[in-house]
Symmetry: C2
């Protein structure tokens, strides 16, 4: 049995001290970190700072019955690294607002240990130390992270730079995490390939390192990370860039096994891939004459698929066998009823 952590005995400052000890030294980029009113960053000359915020809330983004604390900790940082990567930024550090239920026994030592352990392991691997934040009592668990990274001056990747003629590329595969979520919610036994989908939802591995490489090579014109489903995220990108996009359905990298597994749950594989969300892959645009981004991605072990092209106009069009096909644009929206 996991020991229950008595937060009332430990107290807010005991908890902060415990986190501070586990987080260790923030490294040379930081002049002050956990334990002061704020963290102080030594910004490097010729660089600009990128700030992202992404939160995970119990009962909304995760349930304790379908995740483990360590994966949750890793995921909380990973989704913020994904945002940094989509801006072409190199991570420098992050702040954590940790909301915990205050009743005695509501938080177990194993949960808190696992969560911090997972988050700090991810932080170490990304050279992105925990440098500050806040700890508060709340009705349920939630983690609000703000990550900081930097980019060479004037070269952050935004959603707004795509130009007609640009090729549209996406990393990895799509739809797996969305299917995983449905499997977890349905309480299905997760043998074989199904377990892979669930793991993909519980612990995404965004290819965030690619973003800074694309910036360094001056390869990409615009980028967005896939959190709400490719269809909706691409819609965001073309709207901000004031362009249109054509996507070839056949070129979409559906997660392996998705077509086989979806019907059993009454799902359409293509809809799941386009609207499911939580892929945490990188969708980006490169000019037509640019050298291949495949070499860069290959060095990081990241697979790339060219799925379409940017054109003049507005909106996203889907083509099947070269002919336009109707696809409803949906995606994950926090405040709208589920699309499927």
């Amino acid at each position: 049995m996991a020991a229950r952590l008595d937060l009332r005995a430990l107290g807010e400052f005991g908890l902060i001290e415990a986190i501070r000890r586990r987080a260790g030294d923030a490294g040379r980029a930081w002049r002050a970190s956990i334990g002061d009113d704020g963290a102080v960053l030594r910004a490097r000359p010729g660089r600009e700072l990128v700030l992202t915020a992404d939160a995970l809330v119990e009962g909304v983004h995760f349930r304790w019955r379908t995740t483990d604390a360590r994966s949750l900790g890793r995921k909380a940082l990973a989704v913020n690294l994904s945002d940094l990567g989509a801006m072409g930024a190199t991570p420098l550090g992050f702040l954590l607002t940790l909301c915990l239920p205050g009743e005695p026994g509501a938080v177990s030592e194993r949960q808190l240990d696992g969560l911090l352990g997972g988050m700090l392991a991810e932080a170490k691997a990304a050279a992105c130390p925990l440098v500050g934040g806040d700890t508060v009592r709340a009705p349920c668990w939630s983690l609000q992270l703000t990550a900081v990274g930097d980019v060479p001056r004037g070269r952050a990747l935004t959603r707004a730079g795509a130009r007609p003629g640009d090729r549209l590329l996406v990393t990895g595969s799509i739809g797996g995490a969305a299917l995983g979520l449905r499997l977890l919610e349905a309480g299905r036994p997760l043998a074989g390939a199904l377990g892979g989908f669930a793991r993909r939802q519980i612990l995404p591995r965004p290819p965030w390192r690619l973003g800074a490489r694309l910036v360094r090579a001056r390869l990409a014109t615009a980028a967005i990370d896939l959190s709400d489903g490719l269809a909706l995220d691409l819609e965001h990108l073309v709207r901000r860039s004031r362009v249109a996009a054509e996507v070839r359905i056949e070129a979409l990298p559906l997660a392996r096994g998705l077509r086989a597994a979806c019907p059993e749950l009454g799902l359409d594989a293509l809809e799941t891939a386009l609207h499911g969300g939580e892929d945490y892959e990188l969708l980006f645009c490169v000019p037509p004459a640019a050298p291949s981004a495949r070499v860069l991605a290959g060095r990081l072990g990241v697979r790339l698929s060219e799925i379409g092209v940017i054109c003049r106009g507005r909106g996203v069009r889907f083509l099947r066998g070269g002919a336009p096909t109707e696809i409803r644009v949906g995606g994950y929206d926090h405040f709208k009823p589920s699309a499927s």
Copy 2:
């Protein structure tokens, strides 16, 4: 009757768009802001960045029955400006993670309008624009803010710089907000002076501008903002600075009317002032030979009290009529039962 806001109809992206329109342009310091994966800050040469995080959670930090939305929005930013000020930083911008109950009708248009209106008014007055964040569904309202500011390189005020001989100064008055909270929780009618205590709790006005002035004048050696009560916050400061402090009880600037109002609620005025929390005043140290900080503070309309001195040793000692007196060190702790 306030119109209920149908978040399901508006959706996450409708909400973000509404916030984006209200927030307006972030100004020249920001290359990208709301509506991308991250915000991009043009850091100024010779400056270092300061990052702070502070959250307000419904049922823990506020209750709708005792606050109005506009004050809550202002307070959420004000407490982060207080942290920036305590680091000697000038605000540059902030990120907001807005957690909202998702059930239809749980959020009224007036609440959301008031909250954003208050926050953005505070932002405008502080030249600290909203530049990014996240909007998520959650079981209750909460606001997690991360504020960014900057300081001249190497000159951030931390808790760690106090030296024996330094004078100990505090702005404004203490204890009023804590009494205000007790009055609000007791549901007392808030006529006359009592209303002032309540307002102080609902809408603190931290003297955050003083921090950057102290840095510019190279006057202060260490600082902390008073959020958990002077006794506990001073304890944090002396521990980080590895010094001791002597505080003259007679010199403490108790809020006007506190001594008269406390007994009626069964409270001790001194305990309320020392342990109550949420004063959001600035406690700081200046070298013995430094010119008076009073002139600087006076220009900002901020009252200063010299309440003691930093000495060798460890811990905080309280003196009454020059003789040591026993004061229990308490203060607000999120995970410990209330001290009083």
